[in-house]
Structures are given as structure tokens and as C-alpha cells.
């Protein structure tokens, strides 16, 4: 018996508009100040009416186009009806049978795969595979408010905050094309990156601006080759990428056990909804609805349909930035980066990649720039818990520094020292100030870090050092190549900016003469 896993993801993303989808209240995460971003419209007060936010629709179109979706030329709004205290009208304005977009896809990098149907070889890299996850639809709807439950078990009333009610929300539904939990995670990471590039959402999972539900079941292949699908389980409210991966791993094991025990097939039981307990790392059955859901969708008579013109699509197309996949590809070609480096740089988000690109362009050595930003810069960002736009060394200064290395003015080692020195400056009450190029030259002067290629000056110092280390000279003559390291070290300590290669050559020449 062989099991393969079938996973589809439903992602909800809050859009970065100034105001809510149907009213002029602020669209802002503000849990400390409940029920202040509220008005008759988003409170669902009697008599109030919704009017669609143009920017919310534009951001939605942009996202769907970047996700390679077909844009529906005629779209409308429907009411999805269910009772819940965070839904003030007791219906959610959403899209049912005519979503504004459908049939898209997103490519992810994947190492292995249980299927081959949607797998293509990446044009760039033989080591990794590119997998295309198809999207069923992307639609626009309003977010609900937030219910806060009494966690103490005392049975106190639940609290309802409607600050979030009416936040524009995109629902992105994938086909069940995902086969492994790590692919699910890769899909979410790639999606988040894309949304970051498009600047349509801040994708903050802690604040709930990106939320994920997963549908998962098994295809059981029996020994005689028959494939039996098992009942689909929906895991709700996964609030971290790691949580998605862990929950799916757990759920797959659980479903295999369940199959072995019950032999239940798809259709035998109703679709189950399970929650994810991040502390215990288990999924748990959520209490069933008191009735089968019947959302009674129907077209919202308060909102008129939207016709999407060719011109609008062209305008959005022309405003579209370079997307992560294309940029990854270009960086590899233009800056001779490895697939890995390109992944790391692009994966840090659009502003980080912009930073890299500026440094690489100015210093002219993309590989060196990649080493510095993926190692030195990234390490500092992690240590300091800051983002690249808060990093004090800006691209002109970093490229100035790197240019001094490529121009043989300083050594890489000195450059690291200068880099640290620049950051120390920031620790001395200069936080928030950017570092100037002049400061780099100043440090080089102060610390005497300029490469010394004055042979005369070096000659005398080498002679003294050799005189102090006669044994090392003798060992070297006996064929022990590493012995002169000690002499080089002494010279370097004496002359900070000395070029180690030059020093070594001069010592070897002296011994041989």
C-alpha cells in the first residue's frame, strides 16, 4: 500500500489600503483600542450602505495578474450568510459564482515530489525543480471583526471588536496540487514574497494579515493499483508557516492511522474541520456546526457589478514591478549568482533585493556584493532585529567599501574591520544616522588600513622579522611551507595595511636569494 498526500491551501490576505473596503474608516491593526475604527457602514447599522474602495479593487487585480490569473471582465458581489458576532450584518460581502479572477498559478522551488503532473524542469537550475501550483480563484471580500474569548474557563462573556470588520481581504484558493508539507510551506513563502514585492499586503501572520487554512486528504494506492481518496479534512487558522508544515505532518500521520483503522473513503463522512494546537502540536476536532452550513449566497443588491476594461488591465500591467521569480532569474544571469544566493537575496523581500542590486551595480562585483549582503549584512540585521531599510550602512557606502577591495586599496579583512567600526559609530549615540563615505576614509587613515605596497618600507620590516625568527626560516628551507606564516603575521601586525600576498612573495624571494 502506498499513500500520497493531497493538499490544497486557502489563504486570506488583508490588503494594504488606507481605508476599509466599504467605508472610510482606517484599515489599521489596532487591538489595544477596540471599536474606534468603526462607523455606521462597518458596524452594519440599519440604513447604512457599502461603497467599494477603488484601491482595494485595484490591488486585487494587481495581485491576481501577478498570480497569472484570468481576469473576469464582469464581476459582482454576493452575500454569504451566516450568524457570528464578529460579522455585524450577519452576512459577509464576498464573491460567489463570478469572482474577479480565476485559473492562475504560482511556481515554487521544490526538491522532491510525489507526483509528476505539474512538474517542469527549471530553466536555470538542474538541482532544484520548479513546481507549478495551480490556483482555482482569487476573490475579494470583507474581513470580519474579532471575537475574544474568555480563556480562563470561567465562562465569561466573549468580547467583540469591530476595528477589523470590513478590512479588504483577498481569498486565494489553490488547487490540491501540493503533495508535501514542505511544499505547502514553500508555496506560502513564495506567495508572501510575491505579495511583498507587489506591496499589496504586509503579510504579518501574527497580526492576522495573512491567514491560512489547509485542506488535506490521502490517495491510498492499493496493491492492485486502485487509488482510493480518503475524506478531506480542513485545518483552520494556521498562524505560522512552521505551524502549517507541522500541522500537515501531524495530520498526514493521523489520517494514515485513521485509514488503517476505519477504511473510510471520501464521501463516507462529512468534511471534517480541525483546529491546530500550536503548543501541543496536534490537530483537534472542532465541534461540529449545529446544522449543515447553507450560506444562501445571492447577489448583493446594494453593490453594482464591475466591468474590467482592457485599459485598466493594461494600466495595471504597466505599473507591475519585476516579480520575484523573474528577478531571481535575472540576478543569476546579470550578477553571476548561484541559484542559492539568488534565492536568499530575493527571499529577503523587495527592499533587501533593491539594496543588493544597488551595491552590486556600483561596486561592479555582484558575487562579492552577494557575499557581503547575505553574510555580513544579514547577520547584523538578525543580531539587531532590524530590517534592511533601518540598516545604517546604505548602499553607496557599502559599495564604496567594496570598491576599495576590488581596487586593491584595502584588504577584505580591513574592510570587515571598517564595517564593524562603522556600526560601532552607530552604537555611540548616532543611531538613526546614516554613515557617510568620508567616514570610511577617515577610519582607513586613523587605523592605517590602507594597503601598503611600498616595497622599501616593507623590506626593512621583513628583514627585522626574519632576524627574529631564524628557526622559521630554517624550517621553510627544509620544505615546511607553513613555517613562514609566523613571519607574515608579524609583518602584518606591524604594517596594518600590508598586502599579505605581497609580503609572502617578498619573504620567499628573500629566503631564496
Amino acid at each position: 500500500m502506498h499513500f500520497s498526500t493531497i493538499i490544497g491551501l486557502e489563504v486570506h490576505v488583508q490588503l494594504l489600503t488606507k481605508t476599509k473596503i466599504f467605508c472610510g474608516c482606517a484599515n489599521r491593526f489596532n487591538p489595544r483600542n477596540p471599536n474606534v475604527q468603526t462607523c455606521p457602514v462597518c458596524l452594519g447599522l440599519p440604513g447604512s450602505l457599502p461603497v467599494m474602495n477603488r484601491e482595494a479593487f485595484r490591488l486585487s487585480l494587481k495581485t491576481a495578474m501577478a498570480l497569472n490569473c484570468q481576469i473576469t471582465r464582469f464581476t459582482k458581489w454576493d452575500r454569504k450568510q451566516y450568524y457570528y458576532p464578529d460579522l455585524p450584518k450577519n452576512y459577509q460581502i464576498s464573491q460567489y459564482d463570478l469572482p474577479f479572477s480565476s485559473d492562475g498559478w504560482l511556481e515554487i522551488e521544490t526538491e522532491s515530489d510525489g507526483s509528476s503532473a505539474f512538474q517542469t524542469d527549471s530553466p536555470l537550475s538542474a538541482s532544484s525543480k520548479t513546481k507549478r501550483v495551480r490556483l482555482i480563484r482569487v476573490h475579494l471580500e470583507e474581513d470580519a471583526g474579532k471575537n475574544l474569548h474568555d480563556e480562563s474557563g470561567q465562562g465569561a462573556d466573549s468580547q467583540v471588536d469591530l476595528n477589523r470588520a470590513g478590512t479588504p481581504l483577498l481569498e486565494i484558493v489553490s488547487q490540491p496540487d501540493i503533495r508535501l508539507p514542505q511544499q505547502a510551506r514553500a508555496y506560502l513563502e513564495e506567495l508572501k514574497l510575491l505579495l511583498n514585492y507587489l506591496a499589496v499586503s504586509d503579510c504579518n501572520m501574527q497580526e492576522g494579515s495573512l491567514r491560512c487554512d489547509a485542506n488535506v486528504n490521502l490517495h491510498v494506492q492499493t496493491d492492485d493499483g486502485e487509488i482510493i481518496p480518503t475524506p478531506i479534512v480542513e485545518i483552520k487558522n494556521l498562524n505560522s508557516f512552521r505551524g502549517v508544515e507541522l500541522a500537515l505532518n501531524y495530520e498526514i500521520k493521523r489520517q494514515i492511522e485513521q485509514w488503517k483503522q476505519t477504511g473510510q473513503k471520501l464521501g463516507d463522512v462529512e468534511k471534517e474541520t480541525r483546529g491546530w494546537d500550536a503548543d501541543r502540536e496536534v490537530t483537534f476536532a472542532q465541534r461540529g456546526k449545529e446544522e449543515a452550513s447553507d450560506y444562501r449566497y445571492f447577489p448583493d443588491p446594494d453593490l453594482v457589478p464591475v466591468s474590467v476594461s482592457e485599459e485598466l488591465i493594461e494600466t495595471i500591467c504597466s505599473e507591475m514591478c519585476e516579480l520575484p521569480a523573474a528577478r531571481r532569474c535575472r540576478f543569476q544571469l546579470e550578477f553571476q549568482l548561484s541559484n542559492y544566493d539568488a534565492m536568499v537575496i530575493i527571499g529577503q523581500g523587495r527592499i533587501f533585493a533593491d539594496y543588493y542590486e544597488q551595491v552590486a551595480n556600483v561596486c561592479g562585483d555582484g558575487k562579492q556584493a552577494a557575499n557581503w549582503v547575505t553574510q555580513d549584512v544579514l547577520r547584523e540585521l538578525n543580531d539587531r532585529q532590524i530590517t534592511i531599510d533601518e540598516f545604517p550602512i546604505r548602499p553607496p557606502e557599502l559599495s564604496a567599501l567594496l570598491t576599495k577591495i576590488t581596487g586593491n586599496e584595502i584588504t577584505t579583512k580591513s574592510a570587515r574591520e571598517i564595517f564593524s567600526e562603522l556600526l560601532v559609530d552607530m552604537g555611540n549615540g548616532d543611531e538613526g544616522k546614516e554613515i557617510s563615505g568620508a567616514r570610511i576614509d577617515q577610519i582607513i587613515d586613523q587605523k592605517d588600513l590602507g594597503i601598503v605596497s611600498d616595497v622599501g618600507q616593507l623590506d626593512a620590516i621583513i628583514a627585522v622579522a626574519m632576524g627574529r625568527n631564524k628557526k622559521a626560516v630554517a624550517d621553510f628551507c627544509d620544505g615546511k611551507q607553513t613555517a613562514i606564516g609566523r613571519i607574515i603575521g608579524e609583518v602584518m601586525r606591524e604594517v596594518k595595511g600590508a598586502d599579505p600576498k605581497l609580503v609572502r612573495k617578498m619573504i620567499v624571494d628573500k629566503i631564496g636569494s
Binding site: 472610510g24 474606534v36 462573556d157 466573549s158 483546529g275 465541534r287 449545529e290 453594482v304
Partner: protein
């Protein structure tokens, strides 16, 4: 301009079939649950009877052949399209105003009986 804005719908014959199933007290009970209406036994009986009469009356729509051509379902009167507002901040209500009409609050939040996840 006419554009399909609704599901096309089932063929006429099926609809007549659906409409000819009489309404039972059980159906009314289910609908009351969906609509979150607590009805007394007397109301259930009365509504089963009255709604049954209304449904019997609306069956007359079966006389109209809506299978022919594409009859565009009429959701809106005017053929308005693309009505948007600009993404500009407007004044919200204060918290006091927002909560003013609520049956139960703690001064910060609307309060409801404890809700369990998934219910």
C-alpha cells in the same frame, strides 16, 4: 448591455418538480433555525399553513417559460457599473457612539454569551 450575472439555473422541468414538493412542518422548523427565529408550536403550525399557501400561489411562475433565450436575471433596476469610492479616510464614530446602541458592553467591547471555537 446584457451580461450573465447569475447562475443560469436548472431547467424548467426540474424547477416544477422542486416547487411541487409540499412544505412540511419540519421544513419550516429547519428554515426557522437557518433564519435564527425561535417559533412557538402555534407559530410553526400557522406558518406551515400560511407559507404553504404562498408557495402554492407563487407556483404560477411555472407558467412563464424562462428556459427560452437567455433571460437575464434582474438583480438591479439600473445597469450601473463600476461605482467606487476613493481610498480616503473619513471620520469614524467614537467608541462611545459605536457601542451606544448595544444591549451589552463593557465600555470597550460588545459582549455576547461565551462562544466556543467552531460554533
Amino acid at each position: 448591455m446584457v451580461t450573465a450575472i447569475c447562475r443560469v439555473g436548472l431547467p424548467e422541468k426540474r424547477l416544477i418538480g422542486i416547487m411541487s414538493v409540499p412544505l412540511t412542518r419540519d421544513d419550516v422548523q429547519k428554515v426557522a433555525m437557518l433564519a435564527r427565529l425561535k417559533l412557538s408550536d402555534a407559530e410553526l403550525d400557522l406558518f406551515t399553513n400560511q407559507l404553504g399557501q404562498v408557495l402554492e400561489y407563487v407556483k404560477m411562475l411555472n407558467e412563464v417559460d424562462t428556459d427560452t433565450d437567455a433571460i437575464e436575471p434582474m438583480v438591479h433596476v439600473a445597469e450601473l457599473r463600476n461605482v467606487f469610492r476613493d481610498d480616503e479616510l473619513e471620520k469614524s464614530l467614537s467608541r462611545v457612539e459605536s457601542l451606544a446602541n448595544a444591549p451589552k458592553t463593557d465600555g470597550q467591547f460588545f459582549l455576547v454569551p461565551p462562544i466556543m471555537e467552531g460554533t
